[in-house]
Symmetry: C2
Subunit: 321 residues, 2 copies
DNA sequence: AACGCAAGTGTATCAAGATTCGCCGCTTGC
DNA sequence: GCAAGCGGCGAATCTTGATACACTTGCGTT
């Protein structure tokens, strides 16, 4: 314990000498009476311990032109385009997008706001993974889950943790929806919505969202949204597709023009409705990759999004097609 | 211009590959069809261009014990102790303190506040140098100079720039005091205070400070406070010293117990008075080094400070003596 | 008490990255 | 139109930092 603290001090000292003052490892070593190897190891440890952080800032307006074009075309208030290393590697894209989004979010004023979040989106989970802690705590800040549980129990745990971590990092209080995201009937859903105090609180907060980090999804079943008792069946997906659905925002389906598709599926979902999304400037989406293109375009056309973080390829297609 | 943008994109791309994805320089080189040397140079350039930032975070509570002791002893609300590399190198200490203070300030909620600032303090100028831009703009945030000009014209330019830069970085509007800091008589001072519109505005804002980044100084003349028409003379310094002065806060003198020393010098200064300092939690000082010890202790005893960033040696002496 | 094991350190060595040097292509001035 | 100058690039080289290996030390076990 005390040794641990001493070690942290030492790491910090060495890290400051190396990074801040630019002193060579050998010089640090000799001035502290240790070996160069130890200095190297201490620096590694310091990096591990997050004492040293190396971040790559994406300069404002790097892709100014394409971003402005997108803003103009879809009436967005903010667009960020990230260059993906490999446009076909969806997992990689999500990591990159999450990281970029984390930086942007870090610069946003969130304290005191009610923030809708859903950890059923891979890119949003990447965002949480990349987010850096901010010291600004505020109990008035609320992080509300916008969708009930979906998928196997293991994932549910991940999800809860993700929300919790997100709340910790932005310094707010999490409100969980402790109920399945999709139920077998409207009656069961209504019962579940009122079952748990915390869930009721969260659901109530959905009417007061200031910012929503929405997940945009396709109409195909893919991880982590795997088939299960608390998710739509293949048949249900086929049904909404036949009604014209090309994507969904937190499991609310929309067609290619972004117009909501009303169906009985709506009444099976415990989660935010499109009408509940915050009014303006607070609809934040992180989505990219080839598979999501149709869904993203639909979401933009329907103006369900006003701040978008996406990859270069998607951005270009959104302008071209 | 366009080439510059392209270069920045390229630097960002390479930087992301290297730092974020951890790819070796040679691999980056071959995958982009350039030489390893160029990758190295691009990375250097990216660092230069602040696209890559490596920061050493001083972990919370590294020196928890000593900080808590200081808090308790002097009724401070926040203390940060920084380990100085060389306790006798005052310039180095100031850089270190400035850097630490910049990190702390970066985590503070400043938007909408009226912030008093003075660039006649070396440590505060170091702070500005180390501060990183925050995107959070707010026109309601005001940065007010707390002291008129002091020293030769060259320094005055630096000072203005420092204030301007500080305002830019925290996203606020600067209010300058365009008048000498010290005048030859009370009459001249009163005339100067009303001479310029901007100055009047700034002076008025001093009554509404939410946060003050105060400068703590000794009673000796040293750079940048060199003798000049707009500064106290050696005789004046000797005079207040004979009245018991051991230090000054923005040129307001205090004795060893922190009690203000009233003298005719007060009426010669254009700047914030001790009474105008914000009520609680907003008196932020960055000061350390052997020479300033007496002054810091006096400031603490008088409770003119409630948030302190200082060096280890000073911290220890403050507890010991 | 002796042994075995794990954690941590230093030495020597190896790999990675920085730098030097010379080449090439472009601009600029005569 | 040509030579001089300049800037940027890559190959080779050198420096710096990472790592493998061996050794010590401290602690728990037999």
């Amino acid at each position: 314990m005390a040794a641990d603290l001493e070690l942290r001090r030492f790491m910090t000292k060495v890290a400051r000498m190396y990074y801040t003052h630019g002193i060579r490892q050998i010089e640090i070593a000799s001035s502290l009476g240790i070996s160069q190897a130890r200095v190297s190891r201490l620096l590694q440890a310091a990096e591990q311990a997050k004492i040293v952080r190396t971040i790559v800032v994406i300069p404002e307006g790097l892709h100014a032109e394409i971003e402005e074009d997108l803003q103009a075309r879809y009436g967005l208030s903010q667009v960020h385009v990230v260059e993906a290393l490999d446009p076909s590697d969806e997992a990689g894209i999500n990591r990159d997008l999450g990281e970029a989004a984390a930086l942007i979010l870090g610069a946003m004023q969130l304290s005191g706001k009610t923030i809708g979040f859903t950890s059923w989106s891979r890119s949003l989970r990447s965002l949480v993974a990349a987010l850096e802690p901010s010291k600004k705590r505020s109990d008035a800040t609320r992080i509300v889950e916008m969708l009930g549980d979906v998928g196997p129990p293991q994932l549910q745990h991940d999800s809860t943790q993700s929300t919790q971590r997100f709340a910790d990092l932005v310094g707010g209080t999490p409100l969980f929806i402790r109920a399945p995201g999709v139920l077998s009937s409207a009656e069961v859903r209504d019962a579940m919505m009122n079952y748990d105090v915390h869930t009721r609180e969260a659901i109530a907060a959905l009417d007061e969202l200031n910012v929503a980090l929405v997940g945009i999804g396709t109409c195909n079943i893919d991880a982590p949204l795997e088939p299960g008792g608390n998710f739509f069946t293949v048949e249900q997906f086929e049904m909404v597709k036949s009604l014209g659905a090309v994507g969904q925002i937190n499991l609310r389906f929309i067609d290619a023009e972004g117009i909501p598709i009303e169906s009985e599926l709506d009444s099976l979902v415990i989660g935010v409705t499109l009408a509940q999304l915050p009014a303006h400037g607070g609809r934040f989406a992180v989505a990219g990759g080839r598979s999501k293109y149709e869904a993203v375009r639909a979401a933009l056309r329907g103006h369900w999004i006003d701040t978008l973080v996406t990859d270069m390829e998607t951005a270009e297609r959104l302008l071209r097609e």
